[in-house]
Symmetry: C2
Subunit: 356 residues, 2 copies
């Protein structure tokens, strides 16, 4: 995200404050079980503090687009999405055996290091994984709790809860399809796009917008369709940008080493497009490196060269442009106030812009 | 649990029906993402179908004890606890690297085998672990959804939700303390008992009873205290029985191989008691086998002999008897109807009885 985006800065600050207040309340519950839980809470808090607040931002503007007023309670409800997202990332990093998240050691690595440094018994990696599974679970469970405790009226929460329920089931379903696609290895660009729809487009943009709208009032079919028309293509464009950044980006910006997706064997749309266009020799280069946990800089550079040479990089940039255009066309026809339209335009550009 | 326990049989049937209905509704959501999700749903459903329904039973009787009528909606709300519990067990088995659960291969092992049998790419164990993390997450997320969709009035759900929230945070906190205790290896019988309080006693008995009571009506201090007075010692006795069964029990009854706790390096109260009473030689036997993933029948028999010889087995049986007596004394003073008192007496005995 572009950190200079004005509307996002304000949301970030308020969402950050709501999260800090919620975590301070949970501190007391954890301490009642034992002081030994505090390092775990600190690790979660640190990770949460470095989030981009993209899903809360879409939830907030979804609310405003449905006529909701600017009030602190919506920020607390929207902030709950950061707990869900951080919990999902902690579990993702275990599944992908990632070393790094948001520019720091992944949570499971951090606790494995703590185990090793303390000279504890048993497997340090096992301790790291166990801790990450439990802390991810805690954040998933806290999502609903924070959402309900936002201070919005009970009928608003009750109206919106099915959207949150559906969003969670969809994102986990999308992640499972992703895992299955990596394993079965028969991912085409089309099937990779279906994974992206569930894992990213609905989860990051469409559902947060609709969640905000459901908090603001009874369902408005035209608005809900407009949010889908904007959210689904934009979400796909966002994931395509993420794929490109993961393959070609600057680790200082992404917070992840270049080539991590490749190391994890992720069949991204970018990679599936390259494979569909590759010669036998080019495909062999990708095949040799995809899923190799020891992949180094030279190997990453070879795959980068193939992706560029096949035209897949250009093709994905073209898709991003087309999807963003589709999203903005749907937005221009949406029944929302001008300041909402303007903020969602700004968010669309910030979420998908090149960073080079 | 004793399968002939009459009140539990009826609850089992109704809870099972409520769970089957909920899972059938989720099937449609999952199919909208992809048919490939159906084997995952079937695996979860199979595991859920074999649950003992202990937490729903305490929730139901907690409701009845607070004056709630016998109606199907309370069964659906109580049944949600089985989703939470099954999700937690799936994650536990990953953390403990257990092969077996409820008499069948653990979920992560089952999906690892599916990967291997299909000749898929990448690590079969990685696929099994990833699937188990995601499906456990799904069940944790579905807990709230099923609880809210029970059909009980919104104000009843709203009143009870903080109990469910607290219960989840406490059980995860207890599991983390357990993991830390295994790693740091400085578990005394007293610190093991604190883990048991959070991980088992509150989670299995005290909070489910209080959850049922909160669904039935506004908090009644005397009842809430009586449920704690019954639930905490009974929950500890239940865990002590589980420790003994895990060490000396029949796998056909427990659904887990004998010695699994030992292999996972779990410092149970039983083991901590044995260590506190052991001679240097006896302690060395335990130390040699504790946390050894390759522990065999002969090694398990050596540890069994030490536990018996130190008097720890007798001491734990004595503690179980004392805790059950404390629980029943609290129950006899509880402001509940005679049929509730009688059902809770029956449950206390069923949950802690010897099985030899």
């Amino acid at each position: 995200m572009n950190p200079s985006s004005a509307c996002l800065d304000l949301i970030r600050e308020q969402v950050g404050r709501a999260l800090a207040e919620f975590l301070a309340r949970q501190r007391d519950v954890l301490v009642s079980a034992g002081e030994e839980l505090l390092p775990a809470l600190d690790a979660m808090s640190g990770l949460i503090a470095r989030g981009k607040r993209l899903r809360p931002a879409f939830c907030y503007w979804g609310w405003r687009g449905a006529g909701g007023e600017d009030r602190p309670e919506i920020m607390a409800a929207a902030a709950a999405l950061e707990l869900l997202h951080t919990g999902a990332l902690i579990h993702d990093d275990v599944m992908d055996a990632s070393d790094t998240r948001r520019g720091q050691p992944a949570l499971h690595r951090r606790f494995a290091a703590r185990h090793a440094d303390s000279g504890w018994r048993g497997s340090a990696d096992g301790f790291g994984t166990g801790t990450a599974i439990l802390l991810g679970d805690l954040l998933l469970c806290w999502t609903d709790e924070m959402f309900r405790a936002s201070g919005l009226p009970p009928e608003a929460i009750r109206r919106a809860q099915p959207v949150l329920d559906r969003m969670r089931t969809e994102v986990i379903a999308g992640q499972y399809l992703d895992l299955l696609g990596q394993a079965a290895g028969n991912e085409t660009a089309a099937s990779a796009l279906r994974v992206v729809e569930f894992k990213t487009a609905k989860y990051t943009i469409e559902r947060p917008l609709q969640l905000g709208a459901a908090l603001a009032g009874p369902e408005d079919d035209a608005l809900s369709r407009a949010y889908s028309g904007y959210g689904l293509p934009l979400g796909t464009a966002f994931q395509l940008r993420d794929d490109i950044l993961g393959m070609f980006g600057n680790p200082a910006q992404t917070g992840k080493p270049t080539g991590d997706d490749l190391r994890a064997g992720k069949r991204t749309v970018l990679l599936a497009t390259a494979l569909a266009r590759a010669t036998t020799e080019q495909a062999a280069v990708i095949d040799r490196h995809l899923g190799d946990p020891m992949l180094d800089e030279a190997g990453t550079a070879e795959v980068q060269a193939v992706i560029a040479a096949t035209g897949a990089l250009t093709e994905c940039e073209r898709m991003i442009d087309a999807k963003v255009r589709d999203a903005l066309a749907a937005l221009s026809a949406a029944p929302v106030a001008p300041e909402v339209s303007s903020a969602l335009t700004e968010l669309a550009i910030a979420a998908t812009a090149r960073r080079d």
